[in-house]
């Protein structure tokens, strides 16, 4: 529980820093300037500022939902692969610990853009060190391919290994069996999730 609270606090701080120091009004003006007038941009920004609190308020819910969904996937995997019964709450700490790996790219992003000040909102959006997207120019990639190319990254791979490592105690320290379960349960759900988002993105673009 402590780790979850710590993770949420870190996420809120990172989000606050990102919104206030990296996604500046100047960056947003530059983004909208090609299509909208000054007064239109002002209106959009003031509307966004009115609702900015909601973004912070949703962080804990989104985080807990994410942890909950991953845990459900892994729980089903363990239920099917193990002869003994494991309680849902026994898996949560493993998922929470492994999930902290995703803070690394967030920190790298913040450090990178704090010291490299000449950037656009697109640079910020598509920045993901260690992702497949780095092999392409994001401006030339179809919009529906951006998410999968960002989602397949070294932190995701590390997450699978870390989760398998955390869960290996349930498999009598057999890492291979643990990894197989993670790949079949979380891995297959992750692939479905990525493809579902591609489907949504293609329909909405």
């Amino acid at each position: 529980m402590r780790l979850q609270v710590l993770n949420i606090i870190i996420l809120v701080i990172l989000s606050y820093y990102l919104k206030n120091y990296l996604v500046t009004d100047e960056i947003l003006y530059n983004l909208y300037d090609t299509q909208l007038s000054y007064s239109q941009i002002e209106q959009i920004l003031s509307r966004q500022n009115e609702w900015v609190w909601l973004g912070y308020a949703l962080i804990p819910f989104i985080y807990l939902l994410k942890i909950g969904l991953i845990t459900i996937c892994v729980y089903i995997g363990l239920f099917l692969m193990l002869p003994k019964k494991i309680k849902f709450r026994e898996i949560v700490p493993a998922v929470v610990k492994a999930d902290m790996l995703f803070l690394i790219p967030a920190f790298i992003k913040i450090i990178w853009f704090t010291f490299n000040v000449d950037y656009t909102l697109e640079d910020l959006q598509y920045f993901m060190p260690g992702a497949l997207l780095n092999f392409f120019d994001p401006s030339l990639v179809e919009s529906w391919l951006l998410y999968p190319l960002q989602a397949f990254n070294i932190y995701e791979v590390a997450f699978w290994f870390m989760l398998a490592y955390q869960l290996k105690e349930f498999f009598e320290d057999d890492f291979q069996a643990s990894f197989k379960t993670v790949a079949l349960s979380y891995g297959s759900s992750f692939v479905v999730w990525v493809v579902f988002l591609m489907f949504l993105s293609i329909n909405l673009s």
Binding site: Q35, Q40, V192, F196, F199, I202
Partner: protein, 169 residues
């Protein structure tokens, strides 16, 4: 038994992926067709307030700007106000405001947001099937065509007049 359940779950996952994959492939095909249709203005007709089946030709002496709108959409209302206010800047282009809604709603929209009073603006109802060929999936959507019928630029959402005139002047 357990093995059978695992195989069943994996089959469900594979089924979901196959369904999504097929849906993505179909949508990509649709998108390609829309892109090809939009790239060069195809002749079509719309219903004006006084006349039915008003023709829109591919080529003409002036550039054309199409605003696809919905009368309830706030951004469309704001766009109409912008056009009404800066109409002079668009006097060298044929301007079309088109919606798939009933003509009464469109007429009220034109009156409420200052378009009805403008002499050369084309406002009317377009067939939903025809609008779909432009890939309209949000409002407003703006398409700017050269006099020769080539697409110069398209926008999704509200757009300032200078962002339109820079392509036609």
């Amino acid at each position: 038994m357990r093995k059978k359940i695992i195989i069943g779950v994996l089959l469900v996952v594979a089924g979901v992926l196959a369904y999504l994959g097929q849906a993505i492939a179909f949508k990509l095909q649709d998108k390609k067709e829309i892109e090809a249709h939009v790239a060069f203005l195809q002749p079509f007709e719309f219903n004006g307030f006084l006349e039915e089946n008003v023709p829109v030709k591919s080529k003409s002496t002036q550039a054309k700007v199409f605003f696809f709108f919905n009368t309830e959409c706030e951004h469309c209302q704001a766009e109409a106000r912008l056009v009404a206010k800066a109409y002079e800047a668009l006097n060298k282009v044929d301007v079309y405001f088109l919606s798939i809604e009933p003509l009464e709603n469109i007429q009220k929209f034109a009156k409420d947001y200052g378009l009805a009073a403008l002499p050369d603006i084309n406002i009317g109802q377009i067939d939903a099937h025809e609008a779909a060929k432009f890939g309209i999936n949000s409002f407003p959507m703006v398409f700017i065509y050269a006099p020769g019928g080539q697409l110069l630029k398209s926008y999704k959402g509200e757009v300032k007049i200078e962002a339109i005139t820079k392509y036609i002047n």
